[in-house]
Amino acid sequence: MTAVQTGKRASIRTRVWIDIALFVGYVLLSAPQTTGIPFHEYFTVVFIPIFLAHIVLDWSWIVRVFKRTGRERSTEVRFNRVFDIVLFIGMVVVIYSGFLVSESLLPDLGIDPEITSFWASLHNASGNLLILGVGIHLAMHWPWVKRNIGRIRPNRGTT
């Protein structure tokens, strides 16, 4: 195995680990009734960099998908293009509105946000819709997950 191949594999391995962390973190964040509001809010601070890393590490794929034109634009590419933008907007909205309806994190920092019905409803609605969206996103990328899930183990030898 060449150095380039080793580097490529390590990169996919990192991406798989980030995706696993993102999924587990997302499930925990989506169940505040189970984990409690303080965990729900504090863990968001950990979740944001993982979410950012998920996008940044897959940046070349994102650029490729958005650059495709004409016959290269298959149903899959067209769908992923629109759906991933919607998912990104949903994630930004749910995180931002979560800060604006904070009952634990911001009050602990001495900031007491005035919780309005707009942001509270938006947080609940976008949160629920986003779980559906993540299910669709996972299903659409399931072949990639299946192909690469075995790579979470460290490289052993050069075979």
Binding site: V27, A31, P32, T116, A120, V134
Partner: protein, 88 residues
């Protein structure tokens, strides 16, 4: 860490800029909707004991339903792919 950030400055910048745009759009909507303070005094969504599992069950059901919705689309994608392979 710093080198990773500087290497990925462009995608991080794009993501942050896009997030700011989204937030600005929704802040504008909030300003236009003139919403009232939410009445959440004394309310809590947290469940206790075995009932707290319900939160995780809800997430699993929603994720599963989302995956189910995606099935016809994946079938279409697969058909699309095989037809384009036939053409080439």
């Amino acid at each position: 860490m710093t080198s990773w950030l500087s290497r990925n400055a462009v995608p991080i910048g794009v993501v942050v800029f896009a997030a700011v745009l989204v937030i600005a759009g929704f802040e504008l909507l909030d300003a236009l909707s003139s919403s009232e303070p939410a009445n959440s005094e004394g309310e809590s969504d947290e469940l206790e004991g075995i009932a707290s599992i319900a939160g995780l069950i809800k997430v699993a059901l929603f994720l599963g339903f989302g995956a189910l919705i995606a099935r016809p689309l994946r079938r279409r994608v697969a058909a699309d792919r095989s037809s384009s392979n036939d053409e080439t």
